[in-house]
């Protein structure tokens, strides 16, 4: 018994920094287990902040920061956190990092801070963050938890950036505020007001999910 336990420990220690198992933590949420398109979490902010690329990028970075650090801390504390109050402890950790991000944006990126307004604060309630803490960081080692958080954050980020790309391009004819269509000599490009409203995000999100599921053959279980 003792021998097998020891063997397991040495085996775990020798696992490479990016073993196949660990790569899956990062790669799975990008596509096959995407938090937005498959798990359908974090839709609120995916609709709200994606009218322009710049705030979307800041939002993606903020969520990535909050996810990685709250996963790291929860994982470090996982054997100390009392089970009965674990949810509120996770919330406290997430909220602290979110407030930190909010304060830093307030100081160094005031324009974006104003544009994102309440949505940075609402990262606290983003189900993706707490979902990963509860489902993964509470039961896994810090390094694995950080990888898992990074994967989910990237899965979230690439979707909202893709949505914002099309919404800003078709809704305002711009990318990062740069007038794309006038630059290529198409100055009377008919911008689509629908894309600026949340409806546009729904449509693009729906199209992304369609393409993704057509490729992967994923079907909802009933």
């Amino acid at each position: 018994m003792a021998e097998t336990l020891e063997k397991e420990i040495t085996k775990k220690k020798s696992e490479s920094i990016l073993s196949k198992r660990r790569k899956r933590f990062v790669i799975d949420p990008l596509n096959d287990d995407n938090p937005i398109t498959i798990q359908v979490l974090g839709i609120c902010s995916a609709l709200a902040v994606t009218t322009q690329l710049k705030p979307t990028l800041v939002m993606a970075l903020s969520v990535t920061f909050v996810m990685i650090f709250s996963s790291l801390f929860t994982s470090l504390l996982r054997n100390l956190i009392p089970t009965r109050v674990r949810i509120i402890v996770q919330l406290a950790i997430i909220a602290s990092f979110v407030i930190l991000v909010n304060e830093v944006l307030h100081a160094y990126a005031f324009d974006v801070y104003k544009q994102l307004s309440v949505f940075v604060g609402l990262i606290i309630t983003n189900c993706i963050v707490m979902g990963r803490l509860e489902a993964f960081a509470m039961g896994n080692k810090p390094y694995d938890s950080v990888l898992d958080a990074f994967g989910s954050a990237m899965g979230y980020s690439w979707i909202i950036i893709a949505v914002a790309f099309f919404r800003e391009l078709l809704g305002s004819g711009k990318l990062f505020g740069f007038e794309v269509f006038s630059a290529i000599g198409w100055s009377n490009f008919p911008t689509n007001g629908l894309m600026v409203s949340p409806v546009g995000a729904f449509i693009i999100l729906g199209l992304i999910i369609w393409v993704q599921r057509a490729k992967s053959g994923y079907v909802e279980q009933h």
Binding site: V85, A92, S96, V104, H106, F110, K114, S197
Partner: protein, 258 residues
Amino acid sequence: MQRSNTYVILFSLVLTIILGGLLSLASEGLRPAQKKAEEFAKKRQILSAVLDIQQIPDIVSTYNSRISSYIVDANGQTVEQTGPTGNPLRAEDLDIEKEFKKAPDQRLYPVYKFHAEGSPDDTEAYILALYGKGLWNDIWGYVALEPDMNTVAGIVFDHKGETAGLGARITEKEIQERYKGKKIFDAGGEIISVNMLKGENNKPASIDDHNINGMSGATITAKGVNYMMIDYLNCYLPLIESLKKGESGAVSMLNTKN
């Protein structure tokens, strides 16, 4: 793992103290930078009422060399007050949102005088603050009046939560440009402000010195803007009247010299 109640309470207490301490430390440490960012945004907004800020390389130095500010009360009299830090209260430090919540005759009003570089007497425009309610939340802005205190030299709006693509369009240059050159007084000298009409494609006949095209789908925001304009212009009226007289006085003096 079941833990004793004492452990749970102690754990929560320690965690709260650590997280709370870290956050207050961060908040304190970042406050100067936040203040600076807010003031920069305010100065840029004030300048954008009269200048194309895309063309200005250094906003702070332009602001310092071309804007001189003071505070007036509801009677248009210059007010000198000490601020919360003990230093004299600057117009830039005035919290217009807080002032807005007071009764109009209790409020303090900032005045930003835009002048040629290095010559404070050569006034090009007076920039006045505006504050009001849009559809969802507060809206505010700055209106610049030419020295005749009648012609709008420029205007800038901002908002807290108007609908993106509809009411939020008040922040767009295209909408703000419509105010340029309009008059706030009618022929009889009554203040009537500049009104945004309902809808975007009004008949050319209905567009005149006091009426401009509105925004489709944002009639209530436009109404808020109209109300805010006339409301604040009325609050500033004593100052506007006295500057108007002063200006015509200066003109008649010039005439007698000739």
